[in-house]
């Protein structure tokens, strides 16, 4: 069996190899966005860090939720996926800091989730499922062979998303 492909911060990976498993480990405020075309067996995973693209960044820069989603969509279509087949899921966007006086300043997680909703709306891509917010980190896996997407929290088991 192949090692899973780790999708790190600000990376996007698209695969059509049934032996591949794409993983974004330990998402805190970061957001994992998955796209699956089951008919064509093409899957993609984006690991975005911040909500909105900064001036000067590439229009498909995977560091940001908005430009990253556009980049993931583009990469999926380029790999042969069909837009109408795409099943989109998001996971992550936790607020890791719950202490008084700290949490409000940095609630990047919530802003990442909002940015994903806005971007998907704008691109007219329906959101199939999400597990977002809260205060726990998550690991997201995409099994290319089956198109299955799972989420795991610390101490928990993998659950289908």
């Amino acid at each position: 069996m192949k090692d899973p492909i780790s999708v790190n911060l600000g990376e996007v990976v698209v695969s059509s190899d049934p032996a591949d498993v794409l993983v974004a480990y330990g998402l805190g405020s970061c957001l994992g966005i998955t796209m699956v075309d089951k008919q064509r067996h093409i899957c993609g995973l984006l690991h975005a860090v911040l909500p909105h693209r900064m001036n000067g960044a590439h229009p498909h820069c995977a560091k940001y939720v908005d430009s990253g989603i556009e980049g993931l969509l583009e990469a999926m279509l380029k790999a042969g996926a069909e837009r109408r087949n795409l099943i989109v899921r998001i996971a992550g966007g936790a607020n890791m800091l719950t202490a008084a006086g700290l949490s409000k300043t940095f609630d990047v997680g919530t802003r990442n989730i909002e940015s994903a909703h806005e971007t998907l709306n704008r691109l007219n891509l329906p959101l199939h499922a999400e597990e977002t917010g809260g205060h726990s980190g998550r690991t997201v896996r995409v099994y290319v062979a089956s198109g299955r997407v799972t989420v795991r929290v610390v101490g928990g088991v993998e659950k289908d998303l």
Binding site: N8, L27, G28, S29, V49, L50, M96, F106
Partner: protein, 204 residues
């Protein structure tokens, strides 16, 4: 909004000398809390790509305890302590004067004990730095997290990621007697504070 820092040898030296004093004092505070002396290495001042951060302590999915606070005032920085889970359990047992092995879970009481460690260590660190710089620095209340390392370190990634693709990190670890690491101790100064430090140097 990009704040570019010229990362020169002089700044590294300044940071190293300031933080070494701070870390000495922090270890003293921490050791006092424990009732025995902790060892520590000289702080390493380095620039790390943002994407490397979640990989730096045992891998992003490893479960750990994180204690986080900020230094605010004339010098702004983030302080993060990352403890392997079993070390966090041992530390709680020590602090609560229980036989080792009693703590197997970090509930609100245990987290509050770890928060106290953050308070003590952070305050001792900041007092020494404030004295050296002749400036005022206050700690925020600590936040304690028990989660995947990647998720804990996302805090640093999210707060610095808007400014730069690199993080200036001052890193050391506190060791308990033998060679086993009790906690990683990180200080991440805000870009503006680094710039102020550099300007002060130029004037001097």
């Amino acid at each position: 909004m990009t704040a570019m820092i010229e990362f020169d040898e002089k700044l590294v030296e300044t940071l190293r000398s300031i933080t070494t004093v701070g870390i000495h004092n922090a270890v003293r505070g921490f050791s006092g809390l424990l009732g025995h002396k902790l060892e520590f290495g000289d702080p390493d001042v380095k620039v790390v790509p943002l994407t490397q951060i979640p990989m730096m302590v045992g891998g992003p999915e490893t479960e750990a305890a994180g204690i986080y606070l900020r230094a605010e005032g004339d010098f702004n920085a983030q302080i993060m302590m990352i403890l392997p889970l079993e070390k966090a359990f041992q530390l709680v047992d020590l602090l609560m004067e229980q036989p080792e092995g009693t703590t197997t879970f970090l509930g609100s009481l245990e987290r509050s004990a770890l928060g106290e460690v953050g308070n003590m260590t952070g305050t001792f660190f900041m007092n020494a730095v404030a004295n050296t710089l002749g400036r005022e620095i206050r700690p925020t209340p600590p936040a304690v997290m028990v989660d995947m390392v990647g998720a804990i370190l996302d805090i640093i990634v999210a707060t610095t990621g808007g400014v730069s693709d690199h993080v200036l990190l001052i890193q050391t670890c506190f060791k308990d007697g033998s060679r086993s690491v009790l906690t990683d101790f990180w200080v991440i100064p805000d870009a503006q504070s680094l710039q102020a430090l550099q300007q002060a140097e130029k004037k001097a």
